[in-house]
Symmetry: C2
Subunit: 203 residues, 2 copies
């Protein structure tokens, strides 16, 4: 049985759940209680010495980090879909994994967390990065239906969540028609599963 160490509200855990769902795989969720610091306890550090979630346990193969989980699942269970076999395709997917961990993280995930009161930081600097990456994505997605090679791949799965949740962080998508159409395409994929609800706003 595949196990996913998971936090329901985490966007990065959601990426893993979305990939599992798109691949039609059964799995068991193992909820990790961040509030109780469970991810820093010896039991969990044995699963992942970095103390971060999500972590996938596929019958003893342990993979940490959401992008790594996606590449693993897609290449193992995707039957040639989702993760390309060609060097060019792999390089292109990798570019979007980098955009996800750099520009999307700093420009969309962080400002959203600041706006929702779950993290402190420089909101305006983050938002400026966010606007740049939304423009870049919109150009790309106005010209192409999917981020890589004209078909859905882990690149779309990794970029989608924090782009779709950008309005929660004060970055509306109204003027980005290419992005909005792509979001509808992602949400129309067989096996799509809904985004986590936003956390309750802290007082």
């Amino acid at each position: 049985m595949i196990k996913l160490y998971d936090i329901e509200r985490s966007g990065n855990c959601y990426k893993a759940r979305l990939m599992l769902s798109l691949l039609g795989l059964n799995y068991e969720k193992v909820p990790v209680d961040l509030g109780a610091g469970e991810q820093k306890q010896p039991d969990f550090l044995e699963v992942n010495p970095l103390g971060s979630i999500p972590v996938l346990d596929d019958n003893g193969v342990l993979i940490r980090d959401s992008a790594a989980i996606l590449v693993y699942l897609a290449s193992k269970y995707g039957q040639g879909k989702w993760y390309p076999k060609s060097p060019k395709g792999m390089g292109k997917v990798q570019q979007w994994l980098a955009v996800s961990s750099n520009e999307v993280f700093h420009g969309l995930a962080i400002p959203r967390a600041i706006k929702l009161g779950i993290r402190q930081g420089d909101y305006e600097a983050g938002k400026a990065t966010g606007e740049k990456v939304l423009k870049l994505l919109d150009q790309r997605l106005s010209a192409e239906e999917w981020l890589v090679a004209g078909k859905p791949s882990v690149a779309d799965v990794v970029v989608y969540p924090y782009v779709a949740m950008a309005p929660q962080g004060g970055l509306p998508l109204d003027s980005y028609l290419g992005i909005r159409k792509w979001i509808r395409r992602v949400e129309g994929l067989e096996g799509f599963t809904a985004l986590p609800p936003p956390p309750p706003k802290k007082a």
Copy 2:
């Protein structure tokens, strides 16, 4: 001919040069003048809309981002070495690409840049992250010769530069025997090419 848009002193460009050299590939360096803002000019933005370096141009296939360049080069020219073909191997390599863009970047590259006067930021916070990742790497590299599957891979190429340069950032490696032995193994690989010199310290 393979072209690399390159800055001599950049650790990320060095990763691409190291991979090209380990693979025994000839290529042409196209120096980009950051000081003159060349990476923000229309000509370069056509090569990479993100305005970042390095960028690889392999006879028209454009790949930006150092990790993406490594995955592309290794899977195209590595003859089954350097980037694994198994889902488990790919997932494990991806884990280290994530450690490189998260903990190694924030904990080793950033504190080094602050120490060398080329960037501002919270040095102590960065250094604390750096010490954690060095401990993690040392554990791993005391038990295993290489980061993934007992042989050199893009994981080692991507992690090596900022680990080897950590002392420039005030993080000495003296107590990390596992890391120091691994550095000697990397530097003994056929085709290894030397790290860039540190930038002159700003007054």
